[in-house]
Amino acid sequence: MPDISVTVAGIKFRNPLLLASGILDENGYTIKRILDEGAGGAVTKSIGTDERSGYFPPVVVPLDDGLLNAVGLPNPGIKEFGSEMKIALEAGKPVIGSVFASNSEDFLNLCSAMESYGAYAVELNLSCPHVKGFGSEVGSDPDLVEEIIHSLKSKIRIPVFAKLSPNVTDINQIAEAASECDAFVLINTVRGMSIDITARKPVLSNRVGGLSGRAVKPVGIRAVWDVFENFDKPIFGVGGIENAQDVVEYFMAGASAVQIGTAIHSQGRGVFRKIESELADFMEAEGFNSMVEMRGLAH
């Protein structure tokens, strides 16, 4: 049997398939169930300092080959989230706390709280494409990114992951600014929009949203490839992963582990177990013994 476990930034995952931030990870019981049902780890919904309701529905548009979403970073605020972390951690698997903020002080408070809740690592959402003042608005400013990560690294003991946006002119420039982080997470959603032509209106209440799923896989593969070429750091590949072939493609581009979101829409929570067994079959057939052997192999 090939070994499908991976160790990234010192954290051991029984399989390389993590739940991506923002999909079924706001409620502690849901995270716990997904971990129990096969995910190797989970990243929480992005949490901010204050409670936010997010946008009014429609918050999602199902497309043939993915989803467009503008959920609007709903979250109960970091104070309230401790109880969800507690429930999620009962699964006994790594839970990574995703956080968003607009300045380094808030990021520090959020990360400290996540650390105290028992998060195995924090993931900085520098890349949500549809909320003013947060996410990619922060993540496209190299100086701010550098300052945020620098200030965290001296004060937070758990690993710090930087989740970057593909909606930038030069992803390597942002990765350079974030290069004090312990791992990159690539990619967040691609800015997009959908209009209903009989209603004559954008479908999302926020109008602009983020594209995810199959449609963006080539964009994610290229981002991982580029960052792997230029930085010697672990990478979580995210975007359009639906089967073991996709996982292997991300690994060969340079990923050390992957995250899965939208595939839960098409395949349900069972997607983790399904991919886990497909992955072992593929490795056996192609003569791989461990995941790390595949990392960056296409370079």
Partner: protein
């Protein structure tokens, strides 16, 4: 999004209306559509009338439901779906327990042998009043303005649950919680159609989750033996932001 023209509108209670439209999709009792009011909002609504001619029954509550209740014949409704696990239609005598608009999703299950317990806050909020044929209809109101004053469990005491093969229950969660606790030790099968806030309808946003299950996808129908797995049922729920609060 799909869309259809409203071909007829009927009052279902003093304030609730049923909008009829045609759509070729097969939709089963217990499934729902995400109904979009462009520029206003999007909410899940069960089908009260399945078949080619479809009907949804809506109570004006917040902004989206109120907007939908103000539509006129000839207006368009926009929707996606159907979503969710339908009821399993069993043979044998049915016990139908609907609270408020909950009766909408049960309406197509009522047959001439059924016992129907319909409840609402007041008499004029009772849905489909005198508008269905069944063996026995017990009305229950909070204020006693019609039928029994009290809650559906109070009506249950006046019947023998085990003379029924199956109970279908839909309504506010605390009502279903009390019905579950009352009926769980009888022999009949129980099918609950749960209701929680739903933002996406397709199992990704986590807003409707209960004990790790997504109501919009694993449910809204849940069977008697699944209820214990829903560890939050009747106990806690989350707001739009995901903040957890106690329902007690």
């Amino acid at each position: 999004m799909r869309h259809s023209e409203i071909i007829e509108i009927k009052a279902a209670s003093r304030s609730s209306v049923t909008l009829f439209f045609e759509d070729d999709t097969d939709i089963l009792p217990g499934q729902f559509l995400m109904i979009w009011a462009p520029g206003v909002g999007e909410i899940p609504i069960s089908l009260s009338h399945t078949g080619k001619r479809k009907g949804i029954t809506i109570k004006p509550y917040g902004k989206t439901s109120s907007f939908l209740c103000s539509l006129k014949k000839g207006d368009r409704i926009y929707f996606r779906g159907p979503y969710g696990r339908p009821f399993s239609v069993e043979s044998g005598r049915r016990l139908i327990i609907g609270g408020g608009t909950g009766l909408a999703s049960l309406y197509s299950l009522i047959d001439s042998e059924s016992t129907v317990i319909s409840s609402a806050r007041t008499a004029d909020e009772l849905l489909f009043r005198n508008n269905f044929k069944c063996k026995r209809n017990i009305e229950v109101t909070d204020d006693g303005s019609a039928g029994i004053k009290g809650f559906p469990v109070d009506a249950l005491r006046s019947i023998n649950p085990d003379s029924h093969a199956v109970a279908y229950i839909c309504g506010p969660e605390m009502m279903m919680y009390s019905v579950y606790n009352y009926l769980k030790d009888f022999n009949l099968e129980l099918q609950f159609s749960l209701e929680r806030m739903m933002k996406c309808g397709i199992g990704i946003c986590d807003s409707c989750s209960i004990g790790g299950f997504q109501l919009c996808r694993d449910g809204p129908t849940f069977f008697k033996d699944e209820i214990p797995l829903l560890v939050e049922f009747g106990i806690t729920r989350t707001t739009e932001s995901g903040r957890r609060y106690s329902m007690k």
